[in-house]
Subunit: 168 residues, 2 copies
């Protein structure tokens, strides 16, 4: 299992960042690869959601479970039905206050790719174990950077609107 952590500072209040992170149905408007998100079950504490995502030009879908701890600012997620290359995919979104108008946004991943079977069958019909791991690791790296930037940009625009409204 590989563990990664990515982070960025957001010039917006923790509540603005938390509200966007918790709103999984807004993710298709944030992340260009995410085609649709359907909440199958939901409460303030957890969500089961089905995602359809464009992975290198191929539509894939999986189900994710998210446990939300609003007091801590942490959303724990893990794929229940996994994507074709994925043995395990989980981690946390974290929104930690750095003062009234600044937030540390963190995204962690714990992941493992599927392995070739003992009789030599390739992963997803075409990849060696090493290739599957590398593809997954590259996707985690690229998506982490892109997703943090997308959330930061939307939150900072919302913070500007909020600040402008406050001084109007």
């Amino acid at each position: 299992m590989e563990h990664t952590e990515h982070t960025t500072t957001v010039d917006a209040s923790q509540s603005i960042v938390w509200e966007l992170l918790a709103d999984i149905e807004s993710y298709p408007s944030l992340f260009s690869a995410t085609q649709s998100v359907t909440i199958v079950e939901g409460s303030p504490e957890y969500q089961l959601a089905e995602l359809v995502v464009d992975v290198s030009g191929e539509l894939q879908s999986w189900t994710t479970r998210r446990d939300l701890d609003a007091a801590l600012g942490v959303i724990k997620y893990r794929q229940l039905q996994t994507a074709p290359l994925v043995q395990h995919m989980g981690g946390e979104w974290r929104a930690l206050p750095l003062g009234p108008n600044r937030t540390q946004l963190v995204l962690t991943h714990d992941f493992a790719a599927k392995q070739e079977s003992e009789d030599g069958a390739k992963v997803a019909g075409k990849y060696s174990s090493e290739e599957a791991h590398q593809l997954l690791a590259d996707a985690v790296e690229n998506n982490s950077v892109a997703h943090l930037a997308a959330i930061r940009d939307v939150c900072e625009r919302r913070a500007e609107v909020t600040a402008a409204a406050g001084t109007a």
Copy 2:
């Protein structure tokens, strides 16, 4: 000016992490390249410290100013007298609570390398502007990963000792 952020999760309370971050005189025991740290001026809110550091086999020294915000868990630092390659070097150490025994440790850098002069004189007598930038960027990357890991390891050992003492 380039901005970078590195982070790691520490399985220790925020107070354990904060106490170590604030104790700049302990840094030579944490970071193998740091030969000595002398506090020139100090208070609970700020420190002026002179560091002697082994930079690629060459001893360099500089003075750093650190502003400590214990309530926020943030130490802002910047070099006053800079190292030979450095035009600007500053950033923040952040220790943000993730529950009673878990902490998000973050290290940010804002930096710029010196440039060749208009009459073509090299940086530190031997580097082009691009080489100086790359050397500094590589040092920031390598040191960030190493420093976060060193602090995490010491804090997690202290947390184990604290937990063991608590159950004795």
